[in-house]
C-alpha cells in the first residue's frame, strides 16, 4: 500500500481524521475539541456573570444556575483546559524529542475518542434537561440527594473522559522514556517535554482515585451501593478525600504543562537559554511530588481537627518554594536577553504578574485559620481563576499562537493576537481582582443571586463587565483563526526565527513521518546549537535515511468508545426502563468485540520506503524555493 499518495474528497478526509493514529492529527483533534468545549464553558460563564450583574436578578432560575456553575467548572477543567494541553503535548512533544510518533499510536487515538465521547455524554445532559448540579466537586451528600439523571451524566461522562486521560498520560510517559532520539538525555529535554513527563506521571497516580470515586458514585446512584450514604453506614467525607486526592494533583497536571509552554516562550523570545534549567527541572518534579501531599487544604473547614489542618497548612506553604524558584528563573531568563514582544511573549509576560498574584493568594489560603474565612467565599473563586486563567489559559493562548504555525503551517495574525490579549487580559483582571474583596466582604461562592444592601453590588457589576471584555477578546481570537485559515499563507520551518528546539528544524506542518532520519541531539536547545554552528541542514542525523515503519490508521478506537458511550445510557436508565439493562449489556459487548478484533487481527503496519522519503524531501525543498 502506498502511504504517501493521498485520497481526496470529503468522505476520504473525514475517514482519514476518524481513523488517524498520527500524533499531529490527534493533537489537532484534541485542540479543536478543547476549543469547542472552551466556547461552551465560556458561554456558561457569561450567563453566570450576567445573572450576577445586579442583586435579585432573575435571568436564570436557581436550579439552572447550579447546572451552569457545575457544567462550567467540569467543562473547563476536563473538556477544555486538559484537552487543549493534550493537543500541544501530542503535536509537539514527540517532535521535541526527535520521535516519529508516540509510543502507542492506537491508544493515543483511543484516548482522544474517549475524551470526545465522554465530553459529549456529559453535555448531552443539556438535551435531556437533567444536568449535573452539585458543583464540579459533586460532594457526596448533595450529589446523592440530587434528583434526575444530572449527576449520572457527570459520573459516567467523566468516567469515560477520565479513562482517555489516563491512557494519554501513560502513552506520554512511555514515549518520553523510550522514544527520545540518540543524545536526548533527560537533562537535555526541552522544559515542555519535562513538564509533560511530570504531568503524565501525575495523571498515572491521580486519575485512578477519580476512577474509583466515580465508580462508587455510579454504584451509589444507579446500583444501590452505599459507599457515601451515611444512613447506611457510608461516609460522605470519603468522597471529599478521594475527590481531592485526585483534584489537587489535577490542578498541577494543568499548570505544569503551562509552565512548560512559558519556559519555551520566554527562552525563544528572549533569545536566551532558560536560566537555571536544572533548577527548573527539579522544581517541576518537586511540585509534582508535593502536589500529592496537600489535598486536605481543600478541606480545612470539614473538621479534620487542628493537627491535620496544621500539617496540611505547612505542606501547602512548602509548594510556594519551588514555584517561586520557577518565577525567579523565568525573570532571570528574560534578564539580559533580547526580548521581542510577540503575541506568545505578550501572554508569557502577562502570565508572570497574574500568576504571582494567584500564587500568593494560594499561600494565604494555605494558612488554615485564615482559610476558615476565605474558603468557599468569592476569594477562592478569585484565587483559582487567577491560577487557572492567569496561568493555564494564558499558557494555552500563548501556545496556540506560538505553535499554530508548526501545527497548521500558517501564522496567526500578530495584530489581532495582541488585540485579543489586551481585551482578554484587562477583562480577566477586571473580572477577578475585585472578587477577592467580595470574598472578604462575606459573599459565599456558588450563590445563584444575592440580596441588595450587602455592599456587593458595584463589585459584581464590575466583575461582569470584565467578563464581557474577556468574551470580546476570545471572539477576536476566533476571528483571527478563521481569517488565518482562509488566507492560508504558508510558512517555513522556523517562522519565529528564534526557535531553539527540534520541532522548529522540520517543515511546518511536519511530514507525517516527522523526521526523515532520526536526529542526533548534542545538547540542550538542539536547534540553537546547530544554528550557532552555522549548520545548513539544521539537523545532524543520527543515522542514514532508511525505510520507516508506520502504523495503519484504525476506526476501532472510535468504535470501542462508542460501545462505552452506549453502555453509559444503559446503566443510567436500567432502573426505570426495561431496555436499559439490554443497552448496557449491548454497549459493553460491543466494546469487548472491538477489543477482540483488535487483539486477534494482526496489523503489522507498513513501511515508507527510502525512495519515497527522498522523493518527499525533494518535494518539500522544491516547494520552499
Amino acid at each position: 500500500m502506498s502511504s504517501v499518495a493521498q485520497k481526496s474528497g470529503f468522505g476520504a478526509t473525514l475517514w482519514d481524521w476518524l481513523t488517524t493514529v498520527d500524533h499531529k492529527k490527534i493533537g489537532i483533534l484534541y485542540l479543536l475539541g478543547g476549543l469547542f468545549f472552551f466556547v461552551l464553558g465560556g458561554i456558561e460563564a457569561m450567563i453566570i456573570r450576567l445573572q450576577l450583574i445586579t442583586p435579585n436578578n432573575d435571568l436564570v432560575s436557581a436550579g439552572l444556575f447550579n447546572d451552569l456553575i457545575t457544567m462550567h467548572g467540569t467543562t473547563m477543567i476536563f473538556l477544555a483546559a486538559m484537552p487543549m494541553l493534550f493537543g500541544f503535548m501530542n503535536a509537539i512533544m514527540p517532535l521535541q524529542i526527535g520521535a516519529r510518533d508516540v509510543a502507542f499510536p492506537f491508544i493515543n487515538s483511543l484516548g482522544f475518542w474517549m475524551f470526545a465521547f465522554g465530553g459529549l455524554f456529559l453535555n448531552i445532559s443539556w438535551l435531556f434537561g437533567e444536568v449535573p448540579d452539585a458543583g464540579w466537586t459533586s460532594y457526596a451528600s448533595l450529589s446523592l440527594h440530587s434528583p434526575g439523571h444530572g449527576i449520572d451524566f457527570y459520573a459516567i461522562g467523566l468516567q469515560i473522559a477520565g479513562g482517555g486521560t489516563l491512557m494519554a498520560g501513560i502513552n506520554f510517559l512511555v514515549t518520553i522514556i523510550n522514544m527520545r532520539a540518540p543524545g536526548m538525555t533527560y537533562m537535555r529535554m526541552p522544559l515542555f517535554t519535562w513538564t509533560t513527563f511530570v504531568a503524565s506521571a501525575m495523571i498515572l497516580f491521580a486519575f485512578p482515585p477519580l476512577t474509583i470515586g466515580l465508580f462508587f458514585l455510579t454504584f451509589d446512584r444507579m446500583f444501590g451501593g452505599n459507599f457515601f450514604d451515611h444512613t447506611m453506614g457510608g461516609n460522605t467525607i470519603i468522597w471529599e478525600h478521594i475527590f481531592w486526592i485526585f483534584g489537587h494533583p489535577e490542578v498541577y497536571i494543568l499548570i505544569l504543562p503551562a509552565f512548560g509552554i512559558f519556559s519555551e516562550v520566554f527562552s525563544v523570545f528572549a533569545r536566551k537559554r532558560l536560566f537555571g534549567y536544572t533548577a527548573m527541572v527539579f522544581a517541576t518534579v518537586l511540585i509534582g511530588f508535593l502536589g500529592f501531599m496537600v489535598w486536605a487544604h481543600h478541606m480545612f473547614t470539614v473538621g479534620l481537627g487542628p493537627t491535620a489542618n496544621a500539617i496540611f497548612a505547612v505542606a501547602t506553604m512548602a509548594i510556594a518554594v519551588p514555584t517561586g524558584v520557577k518565577i525567579f528563573n523565568w525573570l532571570l531568563t528574560i534578564w539580559g536577553g533580547s526580548i521581542k514582544v510577540t503575541t506568545p511573549m505578550l501572554y508569557a509576560l502577562g502570565f508572570i504578574p497574574s500568576f504571582v498574584m494567584g500564587g500568593v493568594t494560594g499561600v494565604m489560603q494555605g494558612a488554615a485559620p485564615l482559610d476558615y474565612q476565605l474558603h468557599d467565599s468569592y476569594f477562592i473563586v478569585a484565587h483559582f481563576h487567577y491560577v487557572i486563567v492567569g496561568g493555564v489559559v494564558l499558557a494555552i493562548f500563548a501556545g496556540l499562537h506560538y505553535w499554530w504555525p508548526k501545527m497548521f503551517g500558517t501564522m496567526l495574525n500578530e495584530l489581532l493576537g495582541k488585540i485579543t490579549f489586551v481585551f482578554f487580559f484587562v477583562g480577566f483582571h477586571l473580572t477577578f481582582l475585585i472578587q477577592h474583596w467580595l470574598g472578604f466582604w462575606g459573599m459565599p461562592r456558588r450563590v445563584w443571586t444575592f440580596m441588595d444592601g450587602q455592599g456587593w453590588n458595584l463589585a459584581n457589576f464590575v466583575s461582569t463587565i470584565g467578563a464581557l471584555s474577556m468574551a470580546i477578546g476570545f471572539t477576536v481570537m476566533v476571528i483571527n483563526i478563521i481569517m488565518t485559515t482562509i488566507k492560508n499563507e504558508r510558512v517555513g520551518n522556523d517562522p519565529w526565527g528564534d526557535g531553539r528546539t527540534l520541532e522548529w528544524a522540520i517543515p511546518s506542518p511536519p511530514p507525517f513521518y516527522n523526521f526523515p532520519a532520526t536526529p542526533l541531539v548534542r545538547g540542550l536547545d538542539t536547534l540553537w546549537i546547530e544554528k550557532m554552528e552555522g549548520s545548513k541542514e539544521m539537523i545532524t542525523p543520527a543515522e542514514p535515511i532508511t525505510d520507516i515503519h508506520m502504523p495503519h490508521g484504525s476506526i476501532i478506537p472510535m468504535l470501542m468508545t462508542l460501545g462505552l458511550f452506549i453502555a453509559g445510557f444503559g446503566a443510567m436508565f436500567h432502573q426505570e426502563t426495561s431496555w436499559g439493562l439490554g443497552v448496557l449489556i449491548f454497549g459493553l459487548a460491543f466494546t469487548f468485540v472491538t477489543m477482540a478484533i483488535r487483539s486477534l487481527k494482526d496489523d503489522l503496519g507498513y513501511y515508507v520506503t527510502k525512495e519515497q522519503i527522498l522523493q518527499d524531501q525533494e518535494n518539500i525543498k522544491r516547494g520552499r524555493n
Binding site: 467525607i237 497548612a313 488554615a368
Partner: protein
Amino acid sequence: MIKGLKKWRLFSLLAVFALFMAGCGNEEISTFQPAGQVANDQFKLLLLASGIMLLVIIVVVIIYTVALFRFRRSKLGEDHIPEQVEGSHTLELLWTFIPIVLLLILAIPTVHYTYKLGDVKAMEAVDDDGNAENLVVDVTAKLYWWEFEYPDLGIVTAQELVVPTDEKVYFNLIAADVKHSFWIPSVGGKLDTNVENVNKFYLSFEKESEGLKDGVFYGKCAELCGPSHALMDFKVKTLPRDQFDSWVAGMQETAEEPVVANADGEEVFSQSCIGCHAVSGVGESGAQGPNLASFGDRNRVAGFLEHDEENLKDWIRDTQKHKPGNTMPSFSKDQISDEDLDALAEYLMGLKVAK
C-alpha cells in the same frame, strides 16, 4: 478663606474615610470588620499574610519591570545574541531560602492559631453543681434553614441565633440532610455541618448587634446545598449577658404562656401549621420546620425576605417561588382563605419573646 480650607479638609477626610469604609465592606457581614476574637485572630493572620505576599509581589514586579525596559530587542538591535547563561547556584539558593524564611514567619502563627481556634476542651467543663460552664449551642442545618438548640437551657429557636456578648459560645454543628457550612463572616470563619458527624468550634461575639444596620449580624451557608443555597441565610443577635438571660427566660415562658395576638390565626395555625412548626420555645432540635416561638422578633421571613405581613403571606401562598427546592408546602386559597391568612399572619407576627 481659612475656614473654607478647613471645610475642604474635613470633606476630603470624610471622603477618604468613606472610601476606606467601602473597602471594608458592610459591618454586619464583612471579615474586614471583625466583631469577635476569632475573626480578629483571622484578620491579624490576614494582615500578616498580605504583608508578606505584597513584599513578594513588589520584588517580582520590580525585577520584571526593569528587565522589560532594559532588555528589549528594539533597543539591543535585531542581531544581538545575548550571552547564553546557564544559571547561578548562588541565586538559586537565595530564592530558595528567602521564601522559606518568609513562609516560616507565616507558618508559626498559622499553626498557633490553628490550635487556638480548634480548642474546644472547655465545652465539657461543668461547675460543682454539674451545670455547664459555657454556653453551648447545637446547630442543625437543614434544606434551607437553621435550627439552634440550647441544650443546657432547654430551648430551641430557628433562623435567628441569639447569643450573649463577651464570652465564648461553643457550637455543635451537624446537617440533617445534605452538607452545609456555618459562617458568620464578621464574627469568625466557617465550619462545615457534615451529615455524619458533629463538628465543634467556638466563636466569641464582642459587639452588640443593636447598633448594626438591621440590628443583626449576617450568617451564611457557605457550602453548595441545592437550588436555594444562596438564600440559606440566618441572622445573629448579640445581647449583653443580662438581656440574653431575660431572652432565655422569655423563651422558656412560651411553653406555658403563649402569646396570642389573633385567636382566629391561632386556630388556623393549629389546623395547618402545627404539624411541622412549634410555637413553644421549649424543646429540642429535630423539628420538621423552623420553631416559630420568637417569629415576631425576627428580622426576615424565611431567612431572607423583608419581615412584614405581606411577604409572610406571599411566602405561605407559594414557598417554591421564593425558595426553590425547600420542603415547606405552599398553601392555596382552598387550603387557607385570604381572611384566615390575614389572621394567621397577625398571629405569627405577634409571636414575640423580647420584652
